[in-house]
Subunit: 334 residues, 2 copies
């Protein structure tokens, strides 16, 4: 793609699986900031192939990148030193991620469904092959919560994680609370603005938030939990009366995902829930607006640590993917 | 200290330099959560020595740890696999950190003065010896801002960092803004509660905040900046009239540290300032209360990412030290 930088070193070849909003943003960043990546990694980063379902679908990619599009995803994996998976969904993403890991290649993914379903198994493949699988972007996009839970708090005991991790439903709830829309109208508006999928069940029923809290709980406590362990209640059944009742008490309804540990701190029992909660206006999560996300982590020594930021969006999610990519690339180049 | 855990592996010996509130909290955590550290690191962690100026000074340490106190700091470094420096100040901390690094031993420190003064030089020693120097706790204690700037945003371009990074002055300003105390009275109260040193100049004149914004700027942009480059104005000269004027506009005065990049993104010009700023009540930093800290990072792709948490305190600062310690120990055991 881009000419090797002045370092003269062999470029590190990145294979991109998927070229939707996130994939396109990753490709564009890599091609528009070559000096930054070359400096941070110690050698240039080059996109060597972009696997898509349909090469001719309309995309905003500059010419140098369009020429890399292919429907042959395996060949992209085979030709890469490092693989970025941003296709979403379980298959073929799972097989391709596994293929890359089995070849000892680091993988970075933004795919929460895949990680919630098979993250532990795939991490084990990565471990066996002495490589890595990173997925910061799978939870709360640009909010760096996985790295903070895994690394910053690695010497502490986390007691609970509470957050707004679904930007779509937060957008809907914020439209109702701050802009006075009826609930049905807010859902419609969110759909028009692209905040909700054509089938919004995944968001409105709390399935998306549940996948994220499962990933967070596994990261915090290294426990074997899954989607079926989440006490889950979505927001689809809420009525305008519910919102009015909350507002009359100075409260705001948010879809809150939470996970908490109890019992023996060395082998804690972990519970998880996703449900609409009426929060006091002073609650830090009550102030999370539009499509933003926020997470409050409570730890024994650190106390309360909170993180806020964009929970969706192409460039925002790409930022988290690129952070994982640079860190993985630096490890490869060590 | 503690008996080797069931793993049967050789314990990793941690030498502790300093045993004030942070050092004692680090030692207590290591001795009360041995299973957690053994599991995360892959071998038990053992405190092998604690260097102090006066062995007989009153301290709350359990008996097993008290027996490790010594005034011979070099012997603690020599006997350790990994060194934690929490003495504060420049000397003898600097010589001891350098000694440890020259022996190829990873060092974790909470010492902002040292890192602001000689961080780049010491990191270079660490690099030459293929070891590491980590200092998350030196900036904003339990707020994981250095790791987020360095790793989470490693693939992005940071444009600015704005924060409340001095808990003492924030406590004073919060007492004035929310509890109606006069400024002089709030300073006195903060002193009584241990939020300010006997000589509060370091905090009130913005020197402490300046050291932290220098460390943040270097981390974000890899630039050679120092304390003299910070446009600095403290809060000591503020009067009750200033606070009343701000309050009458619905604003709140905070001591804000900031750093921002301009010009060529590949080789940005970086400016830094510490000064009292009147913030609108809606500003996320306006809502940082008591001794807490908060930092808002703006990046090209990620947009606005904000982090909040305890900016001081023994266990809170120890949490950040222990996070760095576990990560460094894992690298040693790889």
């Amino acid at each position: 793609m881009s000419a090797p930088a002045a370092t003269g070193q062999t470029p590190l070849r990145v294979g991109l699986l998927g070229c939707g909003t996130v994939g396109a943003a990753v490709a564009q960043a890599l091609s528009t900031r070559p000096a930054l990546y070359a400096e941070r990694v110690g050698s240039p980063i080059e996109v060597c192939g972009i696997a898509v379902r349909n090469v001719d679908a309309p995309r905003e990619l500059h010419a140098g990148l369009s020429g890399l599009l292919t429907t042959d995803a395996s060949s992209v994996v085979h030709g890469a030193d490092l693989v970025v998976e941003v296709m979403g969904g379980i298959e073929p993403a799972q097989s391709l991620v596994r293929l890359a890991l089995e070849q000892g290649k680091p993988v970075v993914t933004a795919n929460k469904q895949l990680i919630a379903a098979s993250g532990q198994e795939l991490v084990e493949v990565a471990r066996q092959q002495a490589t890595s699988l990173d997925y910061e972007a799978a939870v709360a996009a640009a909010v760096p919560v996985l790295r903070v839970v895994r690394e910053s708090l690695a010497g502490d005991r986390i007691s609970s994680i509470t957050g707004i991790v679904n930007g779509s439903t937060n957008f809907v709830l914020d439209m109702v609370a701050r802009h006075g829309l009826g609930f049905a109208e807010a859902v419609e508006r969110a759909g028009q603005l692209g905040y909700l999928e054509a089938d919004p069940t995944e968001d409105l029923d709390g399935l998306d938030a549940a996948a994220k809290i499962v990933i967070l709980a596994r990261t915090a406590w290294m426990v074997d939990v899954g989607l079926a362990d989440v006490h889950r209640e979505g927001i689809a059944h809420l009525t305008d009366d519910d919102f009015e009742a909350a507002a009359s008490c100075g409260q705001v309804i948010k879809l809150v995902a939470s996970a908490w540990a109890s019992g023996d701190p060395a082998h804690p029992h972990v519970e998880m829930a996703v449900r609409p909660v009426a929060l006091g206006a002073d609650d830090p999560l009550a102030q999370v607006r539009e499509g933003r996300n926020g997470v409050v982590i409570e730890a024994e020594s650190a106390g309360l640590v909170s993180l806020f930021g964009p929970g969706a969006g192409g460039p925002e999610t790409a930022s988290a993917v690129l952070g994982d990519l640079v860190n993985a690339a630096c490890r490869l180049r060590q």
